[in-house]
Structure formats: C-alpha cells, structure tokens
Symmetry: C2
Subunit: 383 residues, 2 copies
C-alpha cells in the first residue's frame, strides 16, 4: 500500500493536516488588513520561540537564504571570520563568509564530534588584537546528528567580543535554544523543521550588537537587507511579496506550538530521540554519535549492520513501509543513515519507525529477535 | 455572504483549486528521485513559457528575489546602469543597481506612459564609448497598467551592446514575451501572476552574453548565485532546499498552462482586458491609460467618478461583493484603483467584476443605467 509516506529525514519534516489545509486556502492580498494581522501574530510568536526580545525577520527563502541574510549584512571584504565546523552545515557558513570576501579561519572536528569549548577558548584567547569579528557555528548539525553545547560556546565568544552567528535551523522548536539568555548575537532558522511547515520561509533575529555591525556593512544584500525588512516588520508588513500561503501555514503551526508549550516541545524531542536510540541499541546497531551529551534530539545517525547496505535499508523501508530516512552526506554517504525526530513527530511515530526498521532488517537477513527494538522503545518511554 | 473572495489585484492572483490541492499534499523529500522528476518537468516547461533555449533558474523567493538575483550577479562597483522607469517596479531596478554600487542613469516618464523607443535610442547613441553596461526595464508595469514595447526596446539595447535585464513578473504567462526572438539577455518572473500559483517562487533566465558578464562579477550573491543554481538545475536538483509544496503547485499549474496553450493564454488575457476596458468606458469612467497600444492586458487602472472615493469603491466591492481590487501606489494612492486580469481569470470573471463594480457604484450614488457596463463587456467578447 502506498501514499502513506512518513518522512523521517531531517527536513522537510511531517506537516500536520491542519497546517496543510490552512496552506491550501486561496491566497489573500499581502497588503490587506487581514494579512497584516496574520503577520502581527507571527512576528510576536516567533520572538517567543526564539526566546528573544529582538525582532525576528521572516524571509521568503530557504534556510540558506537566512544564512546568506546573516553574513551578507555583516561581512565586509577582508573581515576575519572564525567558522566552527562540525559538518556540512558548518562548512556552509565558511563558504558564505568567503563568498563575501571574508578571511575565514576554521576549527574543524571529525564528523560525529562537537566543538570542544576549550579549543574555542584557546583560539579566541590567541586573538589578542581582537581581529576576529564574527564566529559562525551550528547549533544542531543534521549531517551527523550532533548538538553543540551552544550555551557554553556563545559565552566564550561573548567574552572575546566577536559577533556570534548561529545556525538554529534544526534546533529552534526542537532543542532548547535561548537567544537572549545565552547571549547569541545572530540566530537563524527555517520553516520546514521544528516549525512544522513545508520549506520556503526562514527566520533571522539579531541583537543590538549585531545591528550596530550591520549598519557599517558596505554592500548588504538587497533582498535580504536587515534594515528594509525590519522597517516593514515594524509596520506588520513585509518588504517584498511574501509567500502568503506559507505564512498562513506558519500561523497555524505556531498556534499548535503554543498549545503544546515550548518546554513540552523540547521534552518531546528529547524523549523521542532517547527512545529511538534505545531501540537502535537494542537491535545491536551502532549509533554514529555514542556520547549522550552531544547526541542530537532532532536527528539520529545509525550505522548499518555488517553486510547490509544503507541503500538496501533505505529501499526496503521506503518501498515496503513508506518511511523515508536520509542517507549520509558526502564522505558519510552509504556509511550511515539518518532518522529525524524533528518537528511533528509523536511517540507512536518512534514505535512505528523502530518496528518498521526491525521488519526491514529481518527481511534483509539480519539476525536478531524481532520485537526487541520496539520493546526497548516502549521501556524507554515509560521511564 | 463571505469566504468567496475573488482577488482582482495584480498579485497574488486567483489559484486554481487543483493547484491548491496539489500544494496541500504532504511534502516529499527534496533529494528524492520522485522530486527530481518533478523538477525535470518544471525546468523543461519553464523554458517553453520563457520562449527560450536558456536554462530557467528557479529561486525560493519572491519576484524581488529574482530581480536581486539578476543584478547581484551582473553589477560590479562603479558599473554604469541605465534604468528605464515607467513606475514603481522600474524604480526598484534602479534601487537594486545602486545597492550593488552601480552608477545609475534613468529615463523616467510620467506614470501611465511607456518608454519612447526614440528617446532610448537617443540616450544609447549618445553613449559613444559604450560605457552603459546594463539596461534595466519593466515589460509590464503593474503600478500603472502600462506595457512597454519590449520587442522594440530590446532590439535598440542589443544594437548598442548593453545587457538588457527585463522584469517580466507580470507579463510572462499573460502577455507575449519572446526571450530568444526579441534578444532579451536576462528575463525574470514570479510565481504568483501568470503562473497561477501563490507567491514564493521566482524565475530567471540568462543568455550566453549575460552569463559571460556574470562570470566576471566580483561579489555575486551566495543564495542567488547563478552558477551554483545552474549546476544543480542541470542535475534536476536545486542548490538549496526548495519550497517543495510550491514546486508541486507549479508543476500542476504548468500542466494546465500547456493544456491551454501559450497563444491561447495570451489571447485570453487580451480579450479579458479589452472587455474590462469596454465595460469601464461604458460606465463613463476614465481609464488611466487610454492609449490602446500601451494599455496592459494584465492590469487596468481606473479613475473613480467625481465625488466617489477610491477607498469607498474598494470597501463596498470588498464588503458586499468579496472582490479585492488594488489601490494606486505612492502618488497614485486614492487616485486610481487597479483591476487585475492576470493569471487564472475567465470571461465569467470579467462579467462578475464589471457587474459588481456597477452595483458598487450604484450604491455609492453614481448616476448611470445599471447593466450598461456588463452589456459592453458581453458585446466586446462577441467581437
């Protein structure tokens, strides 16, 4: 049976029916009073989920658009940027910074590891002349399933004085992220992850320190210009034609998120990921990130059993159980598969996923006692 | 009775139910074979509607995003750009060019007029050292309802040798526009107009002359980078996460457009606009653009009768007949109202619009014989 696809990739993530139906309504005029009210409510709710008093700009663009929006408004030619790279999305920050003429230094770790705060401190302490202007980092790295200790890293960056620019695309609305309390200067996110709507919108919040730097930017992007976008935001409008239907979807999803409560959302992601990990372990499979302290609650990378290939696992899961999991990226292709528990994912979904993974492995000849994975999931949830 | 809103603004425009429902399906993975096939079909169909052999890049962004994509990949600091301005959207080209450091010269006409080809020729002939690198222009200006004679203007620009950069946001899929045959170098458009889907996607095609200039761009946009976006296009993929659901909608809309046929689409827009104009005239109202040669087939600007205000007309049309028409912009605010016949608009819709406008004017105390407008519309359609 087909047409019951369950996306367990790290994005796009499952979208609630209510949100899909709100998105499917005829578009309304984006300069109408009605739409202005929608924007007012969205702008206010986003602040709550960014845990910030700063305005949260919304761009009609994917997450990379918001990354571009961050650096194209901050970087002048020749600026020194330090990029903390724990995977492909950390690498993207470095690429964008270079694109805008920055001199980029990186701290890079092996895939599956997080940034060591001591190493960051060492590098920043060595920068005695405070030449490093910006530090880019990824909160949750979906290419490996690792979550950085953002609170500690942000505080070290603040001590130095550089502007911290954080990719929260797969952490906002899933993993605790406190923009104001942790002293994050620029935080960006996307719509198709924790915010439970399809891709097409992305978000950026900047504090006063970052705005002061942006004001001195020599050649900011036009479309992603912070100032023109904020000017419209303050009028409950948008600088350019917004993706109206995606905004309607966002309003609907934010209402669901408020109903659940942000602490409950974080807890759900933590419980789901921990249960998924328990199931994987019970099946005798290896987790790519064993260290519980840095293991992501949004996406879990798994090594296949010996003699069973990642493509085969993905194929059977897709064809027979209509579940889509992601392959590894670049060097990790066919070495790991990645299961998302990001966004609109329930306990039942985790049971479903491990149960279907068991059936898949059984079909592929893996030797184990069927049911042992689901059993471990259930026990973990009861804790 | 509410909840039967008919958008007669120049965008967003009405979206077919079929397209809305296709958009409302659960998103699929954007790196899947299935989505790759969707992209293959979209990329191929867009060429057909751009009337070009060039690749048509698709950005998850609004129309202004594609405008930014055009100039941020072409303009180096100090470049001379000539902007042909017949309204707000022409002005936007000039602003973007300045944003990227261009020295901008403009030919600007009074609102409601088109660019005079002779004047363009004069300015370009005066540029004996060929210092003007880029000429920006608007095919169809929605702020006034004027269509430039793009064929002639493009040929004059080609004679000079500058790169023509054309805003076809409200002409593609509505008004004849022949990228290759007319020698347009860069042509952009958006999704929420002739392409009949909600806002959120925009398009850009460039010919080899433009690509050669782009290769020498010193600091192109990262998100809107032509080269990285084309690289992915050639693999039937996208450089960054696409607005999956809007792409599904686009595929559906392009199928409807192919079924109708591009010549028939142009003819429908022409007939609808002419019938609408006949109705307006029969009511004794004044058209903002009287000259049939430059009057837009996508949007018609109308002056209100004496002693009846634009806000009142818009209010009654909206409240009592659920039809949204646009106000004038900037200096034209409250001086004109604008009725779109852009995209998914049928003969019946024109009858509906004029009939409802009649009822509105009647309520507001305007003296005329009710039915005379609709009568003129019907007679015009019979021609």
């Amino acid at each position: 049976m087909k047409d019951k696809t369950f996306l367990m990739i790290p994005g796009p993530t499952p979208v609630p029916e209510r949100v899909l139906l709100d998105m499917a309504k005829h578009p309304i005029g984006h300069r109408s009073t009605e739409f202005s009210k929608v924007l007012e409510s969205i702008y206010s709710d986003l602040k709550m989920f960014f845990r910030t008093k700063n305005d949260v700009l919304v761009f009609t663009a994917s997450g990379t658009g918001a990354m571009d929006a961050a650096l194209s408004n901050l970087v002048n030619k020749g600026d020194k940027v330090l990029s903390l790279v724990i995977g492909n999305f950390g690498q993207r920050w470095a690429k964008i910074a270079k694109n805008y003429g920055a001199e980029v230094q990186t701290i890079e770790v092996e895939p599956g590891q997080a940034i060591n705060p001591d190493e960051l401190r060492k590098v920043l302490e060595a920068d005695v002349n405070k030449e490093i202007k910006i530090v880019t980092l990824t909160h949750n790295e979906t290419s490996t399933g690792v979550t950085n200790d953002l609170k500690t890293l942000a505080s070290i960056i603040r001590e130095h004085g550089a502007i911290s620019v954080v990719d929260g695309v797969t952490s906002l609305g899933a993993i605790q992220c406190e923009m104001d309390e942790w002293g994050i200067d620029v935080l960006i996110s996307g719509s198709q992850k924790g915010f439970m709507i399809p891709p097409g919108l992305s978000f950026l919040a900047a504090n006063e320190r970052a705005w002061a730097v942006a004001e001195k930017c020599e050649r900011p992007s036009f479309y992603f210009n912070w100032a023109s976008n904020r000017k419209s935001l303050l009028e409950n409008s948008t600088a350019f034609t917004p993706a109206v239907n995606l905004f309607m979807a966002l309003k609907s999803a934010l209402e669901m998120m408020k109903d659940e409560g942000i602490e409950n959302i974080w807890l759900r992601h933590k419980r789901n990921a921990k249960a998924l990990r328990a199931g994987i372990r019970a099946l005798g499979l290896k987790l790519f990130v064993e260290d519980e302290k840095i293991a992501s609650y949004a996406v879990t990378a798994v090594l296949p059993p010996e003699n069973i290939s990642v493509p085969d696992i993905r194929k059977v899961l897709k064809n027979d159980y209509d579940i889509v999991v992601a392959n590894g990226q670049n060097k990790l292709k066919d070495k790991i598969f990645r299961m998302g528990t990001l966004g609109f994912v329930s306990e039942r979904d985790v049971i479903t996923a491990i149960g279907s993974l068991e059936a898949t492995l059984y079909k592929l000849g893996y030797k184990f006692e069927p049911g042992v994975g689901v059993g471990a999931v259930i026990k973990e949830f009861m804790k």
